[in-house]
């Protein structure tokens, strides 16, 4: 293995690790919210610094590889892919951290179990989408990447709409639930954004395998 190959392999395996951390953060943030688990929420918040540090580390490594080893073709795509996708993964971590903060804020609020069931379902859908996107990236498997919008975006959007309308209805029925409802909306928005970043990662996996920059159709 040449030095360039070694450097690129290290880079991509660290990126895979960072992706796994972001998926775990999303799952744990969602779990902390629906289980009212403040301790778990705090852990998500602390762990986010690890994701942020990995981003800086990977960016630095990518710059070094480009400056010192002049990668071309596949190697170049690997490096550029990581350099771009690392931002998406870092943002996923930030949204998971938002959800964890909301878990802590929600400790004193009244809750609506039906809506939280939908939120948990949305967490599961989004996490599954991220897993497919990261697997597609790590194995450069296009069949999986291309199916993400059709498999996940529909159900995720439906869940978002259900959570939103149920939250509006709850405030209409009982105005004291205003903070609860706004909280649910914000969480659904965070999860929606995470899902969008999942699509970005899938798009980078297609770039990695084919060299083509495309927009996967959004619903």
């Amino acid at each position: 293995m040449t030095i360039l190959e070694q450097k690129v392999t290290t880079l991509t395996s660290q990126f895979a690790e960072m992706g796994a951390l972001a998926i775990e953060a999303t799952m744990n943030a969602g779990r902390s919210f629906v289980n009212h688990d403040v301790e778990l929420a705090n852990r998500v918040i602390v762990n986010d610094t690890q994701i942020n540090e990995l981003q800086l580390k990977l960016e630095k490594q990518s710059f070094e590889i480009m400056a010192l080893y002049q990668p071309v073709a596949t190697d170049l795509r690997q490096v550029v892919g990581v350099l771009k996708a690392v931002t998406d993964v870092e943002r996923i971590g930030d949204h998971a951290r938002n959800i964890a903060h909301r878990t802590i804020k929600f400790a004193q609020l009244q809750r609506i179990p039906e809506i939280e069931r939908n939120i948990w379902q949305m967490v599961e859908e989004v996490s599954a989408e991220l897993r497919i996107a990261m697997d597609a990236y790590n194995q450069a498997d296009l069949s999986q990447a291309r199916t993400i919008p059709t498999t996940y975006n529909g159900p995720i959007n439906d869940l978002y709409n259900e959570i939103a309308s149920a939250s509006y209805q709850a405030v209409a029925d009982d105005p004291t639930l205003i903070n609860t409802s706004i909280g649910y909306l914000k969480i659904a928005q965070d999860l929606g954004r995470i899902s969008d970043y999942g699509i970005n990662i899938a798009e980078w996996s297609i770039y990695l395998a084919t060299g083509k920059l495309i927009e996967l159709d959004n619903y």
């Binding site: 040449t2 030095i3 360039l4 710059f63 070094e64 400056a67 010192l68 080893y69 002049q70």
Partner: protein, 252 residues
């Protein structure tokens, strides 16, 4: 922290009235590859040749300042030149094997030093050729004339010839500029493996090569050191504009 094995202090060199090196202060550490880069005529090869006194042979050369190898000034009058060049070996741009067999080339330095034991010679020759990553290609042709091999193989045989006398430092003057890309890559790989045991200082015109394999890069211009830094630092964020311009190919 690696220790400094060789350093120059206020080194000046004149070819007649022309000053080719101006107050060069540089340090080189063990188990590192240092790359000397710069435009043609900048003094990098002249500097390299100062490190084992190869310039002594040039007419009208005058040298001031010091070169300390393991803390001893190599320009001191009592220096044993044969011993010095055994410890600080040199590989040149054009592969220059002697016109006899691979075996005799690599054993040359040892025989010169009085080694006669056949078994010891065999062992040393094999070890050196292995270290130079050319053993597999020449092991069945050890008694073939070294000049009949390809340029890349000849160059690695020359590296083996230097290694046979167990040097501490290997100086290389553009060791791959006369070779094709595949042979160059092999030499580069060889050098990376060799730095575990030796200190390597090389002159190169190939900036990509400097960036790929060196730990430290020194940029020469007009007989002066413009910048000397860790290669990573040099190629990502050089201190001087002149360095950035040279690396970007804007002059030179």
């Amino acid at each position: 922290m690696a220790e400094v094995i060789i350093e120059s202090k206020q080194l000046d060199l004149f070819y007649g009235y022309f000053q080719a090196l101006k107050k060069i202060n540089l340090q080189f550490e063990t188990n590192q590859i240092a790359a000397l880069i710069g435009p043609s005529g900048c003094g990098k090869s002249t500097f390299l040749r100062c490190l084992n006194r190869m310039n002594d042979l040039v007419d009208g050369v005058k040298i001031d300042g010091e070169v300390l190898y393991e803390k001893q000034d190599i320009y001191a009058p009592n220096t044993n030149l044969v011993e010095l060049r055994k410890q600080i070996g040199m590989v040149f741009q054009q592969p220059n094997p002697f016109p006899f067999s691979v075996y005799d080339n690599v054993a040359f330095g040892l025989r010169l030093a009085g080694v006669k034991d056949k078994k010891l010679l065999d062992e040393k020759v094999e070890k050196s050729l292995r270290q130079a990553a050319v053993w597999e290609e020449v092991k069945d042709k050890l008694h073939t004339n070294a000049l009949s091999f390809s340029g890349g193989q000849q160059q690695r045989i020359c590296i083996a010839r230097v290694l046979a006398v167990s040097p501490k430092i290997i100086l290389l003057d553009e060791p791959t500029s006369a070779l094709d890309p595949i042979s160059s890559a092999k030499i580069e790989e060889t050098l990376i493996n060799l730095k575990k045991e030796y200190t390597i200082i090389m002159v190169t015109h190939n900036l990509a090569q400097a960036s790929r394999i060196s730990d430290k890069t020194v940029f020469f211009m007009d007989g002066q050191v413009v910048e000397a830094a860790a290669t990573k630092k040099m190629f990502l964020n050089p201190e001087k504009t002149a360095t950035a311009d040279y690396l970007a190919g804007k002059f030179g």
